[in-house]
Symmetry: C2
Subunit: 240 residues, 2 copies
DNA sequence: CGTTGATTTGAGTAAGATCAAGTCGGGTGG
DNA sequence: CCACCCGACTTGATCTTACTCAAATCAACG
C-alpha cells in the first residue's frame, strides 16, 4: 500500500501533510506487516524494534507481572504510532499485541532521527503524538485509580467509541468492538466477573449495546455523565 | 541563576550538552519562578502556559473529579520538564502543584518550536523526556491497576528513592520525602487510612524508615521484590 | 495555649475479588 | 449431520481487601 494512497490520510480527523513530507515518508517506509488476532507485535521487554504506524486493525499496549496479572495501558487504533518509546529509550517497557488482524507500516531503523534532521515540523508532529498518547494514559489512570467500576467502564466505552469514530470506523450508530471482557478487565484493573456484571448494568440501563463485535452507544450524554468524562479529542491530529 | 552555572547539569545522571546548545538554552530562558509549597504551578484545564524545567523542589501532576476525588499521575523532581503537553496540545488536561518550595526555569513561548528548527538533537532529547515521562506513568498504572496495596506502596517508594538519588538528592542512606500520606494515597488510588496502615506495615517489617520529611530504605532488595519492581532508570538522561 | 493539618486507631461496611459451576456459540473432526 | 471442544460470557455464593466514619493523638506554629 503506497503512502500516496493511504486510506487514513483523507479522513477529516487527520491533518494534511506539508510540502515534501509525503515523499519523505514514502521513502522511509520499508514494508508492511500483517499480524493475526492475538499475535505479538512487540515482545515485552524486547530491544528496540522498528517504528510502526497502525494502518488498520486494533492493538493494545500492556505489562504483565511474573504471576500473570496483566495491565493494559492503552488501546491502539488506526493512525496510532507504536514503537516510539522503544526506539528512544532503547528498550520496551511493555508489550504490544494485536486485538484484531492488524496491518502495520514499518519504517526504516533511523527514521526518527532523520525526521528530526530533515523535517522539523514533522518531528514536532511526532512529539505531538507522543504527548497525545500520554494524555490518554493519564485519563485511563484516573479511571483505574479513582473511578468506580461503572464509571470506568463507561469512560472506557466513551473513549473508544469516540476514537473509533474519528478513525473513520463508525457505521450507523456503532463502531467495531473487538475487545473481550478480559481486555476490558485488564484495562481497568477489575476482575472479569465484576467487569461482566458492570457491563450488564450499563446494558440494562439502555446506555450501550454490545454484540457481534460492535459497540453502539444508546445515550452518549448519560454515559458521559456517569463516567464524568469530558476529555475532548483534538479536532485534527497528525498522521505519520 | 544562569544556565552556565546550572547545579543539575554536572550531576552524573545528566547528559552533557552539545556545541551551541547551552548558549541557545540560556538565550531562551526568560526567567525563574519560585513557588511556595502547595502552590499551583499549572491550573487544571488552563490554556497553554510556558514550558518549565524544574530546577529545585518537588511537584506533582494530577487530575480532580467534580466531587473532589483526585488522582496523582506522576511526581516531578529536579531536572524534569513540565508544560510540554500543554504547549503541544494547546491545553492542559491536568494540574501541576508544588509539593515543596519549587524553583522553575521558564522558557520563552515559542521555545519548543525553535528547538525543532534550530537544534534537532536537542529536539530529540525533548521527545526522549516525553517518552520517559510516559514510561513512568505506565509503571504507575501497573501499580494502581494490578498491584495490591503493599506492592504499590513499595513500588512507589523504590521509584521515588531511585529518582531522588539520581537527581543528586541522596544524603547518607536517605532522600527527601515531602509527600504526605494523602499524596501517596492519591497517587495509588487508595484511601488515606489504608495507606497509613500499609506504610506502617512496611515500616514494621524494617524495610523503610520515614520521618522528618526523609525516606530511608532499609532493604532495597526486599522492597523491590515485594513491589515486583524492576524498571531501571536510564543511566543518563537529557536535561533541557 | 488554641488551631490546624498530619497521622494513627478502632469499628463497621461495601465494592469488588475469588471460587465454582454453568450456558452459549462457533468451529472441528468423525 | 452430529458430537465435542474451546473460548467467551454468565450466574451464584462466599470471602477479602480496602473504604468509610468517627475519634484520638501529635507536632508545628502563631
Amino acid at each position: 500500500m503506497p503512502c500516496a494512497q493511504c486510506p487514513l490520510r483523507p479522513l477529516p480527523g487527520f491533518k494534511p501533510l506539508r510540502e515534501g513530507e509525503l515523499a519523505f515518508i514514502s521513502r522511509r517506509k520499508v514494508g508492511q506487516r500483517r499480524i493475526e488476532p492475538g499475535g505479538s507485535i512487540v515482545a515485552e521487554g524486547g530491544a528496540a524494534a522498528h517504528v510502526f504506524t497502525l494502518l488498520s486493525g486494533w492493538a493494545f499496549r500492556f505489562k504483565t507481572m511474573t504471576d500473570g496479572r496483566r495491565q493494559i495501558m492503552s488501546f491502539l487504533l488506526p493512525g496510532d504510532i507504536l514503537g516510539l518509546q522503544a526506539e528512544l529509550l532503547e528498550a520496551t517497557a511493555h508489550g504490544v499485541e494485536a486485538l484484531t488482524e492488524v496491518s502495520l507500516c514499518a519504517f526504516a531503523r533511523d527514521t526518527v532521527w532523520s525526521v528530526y534532521r530533515v523535517h522539523p515540523p514533522l518531528a514536532l508532529d511526532l512529539t505531538w503524538l507522543a504527548a497525545h498518547g500520554e494524555r490518554l494514559v493519564d485519563d485511563a489512570m484516573l479511571s483505574v485509580g479513582r473511578r468506580t467500576a461503572v464509571e470506568s467502564v463507561a469512560a472506557l466505552l466513551v473513549s473508544l467509541f469516540k476514537r473509533a469514530e474519528s478513525a473513520g470506523l463508525r457505521e450507523g450508530d456503532s463502531v467495531p468492538f473487538p475487545l473481550t471482557q478480559t481486555h476490558v478487565a485488564d484495562a481497568l484493573g477489575l476482575s472479569v466477573v465484576h467487569t461482566n456484571r458492570t457491563m450488564q448494568r450499563l446494558r440494562r440501563m439502555g446506555l450501550v449495546r454490545i454484540g457481534d463485535g460492535r459497540l453502539a452507544v444508546g445515550d452518549l450524554r448519560s454515559l458521559r455523565r456517569i463516567a464524568q468524562y469530558w476529555e475532548q479529542p483534538a479536532p485534527v491530529r497528525p498522521l505519520f
